[in-house]
Symmetry: C2
DNA sequence: GCTATTTGTTCAGTGATTGAATTATTTGGC
DNA sequence: GCCAAATAATTCAATCACTGAACAAATAGC
């Protein structure tokens, strides 16, 4: 029941194309067009864009409307002579995704509809470090139940859930290590099996996916701006430093889902020792604790979630130690980011999580290191910009990953819904 | 005529599925199965594996045989009662790929058939640094003509060519920078337009692709071992250090095709200055010149292609300075590799190019750094192994990339061949 | 009110897959 | 040696989804 899968593992490219697959694929193509279009497209628009005939598009759209995935919007603004087009939009009352997050000092739940609009959002502050994983999950389930009730009140049906965790998660949903939470080898799906399921069973949509927070935040950022880049690095600066890698519009998870561990890239070979066993790791220079210490602040004085805000305030006020700390952190981050950009040839770096607020001070030194170290920067400038969603990126991305799955393969939902 | 494209850019996932696409896709599916099977499969095997009916598979296979992409092998070894199966194999007399390489001190040409078997291979040693790009390409064309004549003598038809260059190549085939060759902004396709085309025009197969050497070497390594990993990092240690990244069986090229620039990853923040403008770059510690210098050898004394062999000889003989140089290079390489593995969560690193010969001495320090620095090494051991193809990986990979393209989309060849 | 124009639907036609029946070819038992 | 069982491959009518053209619907402009 709590079967888990990767967030974005594409279907094997070598799958045979059966007779029925044709419709299956075109359902996804048409729905994808509707989802990606800047304004509600007509059936004729989709036919022109895809090369399918209007007859085929009409048939496919009929299926999608019958399955409550698509609706017709008010007549689009007039464009000239001819019969007015009926605009197609993603349904606001069909399937929805439930996003959940467990972090060091808060729990969060979020529901998005097919279009990715946030329809419910709760954050509950609490220090979860002293709480056992089972208790933390029990609290989370209560939050999830409230979210589901609210979603149903709005006519939405939860089709699946994704849980963001600040740690390493394997393919089965086992949290191998979440250092800042104090978790090690926590079998989240097994612990949740005692609770009622969070979503309706839908073929092809796992009821719960457990995934690294930084990865889901990157997905959230990807879907937040439909015109944004399809390949970028999303760096979340929290207590640890995590990165989500988006390549060609898909999250890159690595062989085992452990990708993005950027916090231990060496930025100084004989530098400060690190808990990981290495020396001079990025986290020792650009992690939250390192910045606070360099700025002369005591971590115990302020809750973790306000650390970034506090630093931003001090920096804005011109506090010298803070400015110096951010400059040093930015330089270290720039060294690491330059390495990643050299390796992957990305042209966009998004500063997320705690870094989002600190972008005004971090971006210049990061850019400086990048343009100094990236060989190809001359031909292709690298953009460094703050996250659009900030600290909410992970929950929103988690919920979005569920509905994105439906958009990418609507046949599972349609077979269920009749 | 010399239109260029990326080596492995997959077709847009959102392409509409027309009526005819069905056959088109299944041709690729069946051909792919035949290519990937460890032994010649029967039509019934393919039907069982793909879920298509035997009737469909027979029809598809008929098309493939008529197009000279597939042949029937001798009766497979008996397996029990029943009518014996007819094994299907990739044709050895159909389309072939032409691989070319320009490097610092040699030119090479190579022809592989559909199955990836090397059917022709020439290497011509020559110092190409003092030669103009146009002259170097003219020499290469002579090599290519010989290769084509030999291929035609064997009944093969060249369907396209790929050229490996030790430098940055953009999407149009323009060599932006090949430092060790002294090239800058060399428009290879334009320069080759003066010569007769190297291959038959085949729809969907660009007549020439220009690509970074390290990327093609990684592809060569990928196809050299069908049972090998589908995600790995291939590090080529030549004068510069390049890496090819293979993810899920596909080459990752980055946004502009400049991925894999690993040579300037910092391994020492305040280390030796580097031509790139940074400090402490990997190349200053594990590049060929750095190793030679540390071993006390003068680079001028020996041609570049024998440098690795010379170092291997000295190391095998126990030469202390060489052993120390390799240990230092291995440690630096290990730091960089650990960063990549942390970032991408890969489980295999292939040491190629000059490093292949030096693996016995490089592997221990690389592994040591990796297991020390990679957080997830505890759950997923990282393999560091020498390249199977060694310095020939790039040419063979170049030729292979052409035939792989046909296997992935046979309809282009079939429409041409009738 | 009429025409041009664009949207969306209807319907016979086509291409590819399907599933069952048929043919082909071998092994093993009597 | 002959027959039954078994497996491989082919044939053929049926089906499913897309195609293309004709048609109905709805509006702007004259």
């Amino acid at each position: 029941m709590w079967q888990c899968q990767g967030v974005n593992r594409p279907a094997a490219a070598s799958a045979a194309v059966r007779q029925g697959s044709l419709r299956e694929l075109n359902l996804a193509v048409v729905l994808g067009r509707i989802a990606a279009a800047p304004r509600p497209p007509s059936r004729a628009d989709i036919a022109a864009a895809t090369g399918l005939t209007r007859a085929t598009v009409s048939a496919v759209v009929d299926d999608l409307i019958a399955g409550r995935l698509v609706g017709e919007s008010e007549p689009a603004p007039r464009t000239g002579a001819g019969r007015p087009a009926r605009g197609l939009v993603l349904a606001g009352d069909g399937p929805a995704g439930l996003g959940l997050e467990i972090n060091v000092d808060y729990l969060a739940a979020c529901v998005t509809d097919l279009a990715g609009r946030v329809r419910h959002h709760t954050v509950r502050r609490a220090d979860l470090r002293p709480v056992s994983p089972a208790d933390a999950l029990a609290r989370l389930v209560r939050l999830a139940d409230d979210a589901r009730a609210d979603a149903e009140r709005q006519g939405l049906t939860l089709a699946g859930a994704a849980l963001a965790v600040p740690g390493l998660v394997d393919a089965a949903g086992l949290v191998r290590l979440a250092p800042n939470l104090g978790w090690r080898d926590v079998p989240v799906p097994a612990l949740l099996a005692a609770h009622p399921p969070l979503a309706e069973p839908v073929p092809g949509i796992p009821p719960l996916v457990v995934e690294n927070e930084a990865n889901l935040a990157a997905l959230g950022e990807l879907h937040a701006d439909p015109n944004g880049p399809t390949s970028f690095l999303h760096v979340s600066g929290e207590v640890g430093i995590g990165a989500g890698i988006v390549l060609d519009g898909a999250l890159f998870r690595g062989v085992r889902g452990f990708s993005g561990e950027i916090g231990h890239l060496p930025v100084q070979l004989q530098g400060r020792p690190c808990g990981c066993g290495g020396r001079g790791c990025l986290e020792r220079y650009a992690g939250q604790e390192a910045i606070l210490a360099a700025a002369g602040l005591d971590r115990a004085d302020l809750p973790a979630d306000t650390a970034a805000a506090r630093l931003a305030d001090l920096a804005a006020a011109g506090h010298p130690a803070t400015l110096a700390a951010l400059a040093e952190a930015g330089a270290a981050l720039g060294v690491a980011v330059a390495g990643v950009v050299n390796l992957l040839d990305l042209d966009t770096v998004v500063l997320g999580g705690g870094y989002a607020l600190l972008t005004p001070w971090l971006q210049p030194p990061v850019l400086a290191e990048v343009s100094r170290r990236v060989l190809t920067a001359a031909w292709s400038p690298v953009t460094v910009r703050p996250s659009a969603l900030g600290p909410e990126a992970a929950v929103v991305g988690a919920a979005g990953s569920v509905v994105r799955r439906i958009v990418a393969a609507p046949v599972g939902w349609l077979n269920r819904a009749d």
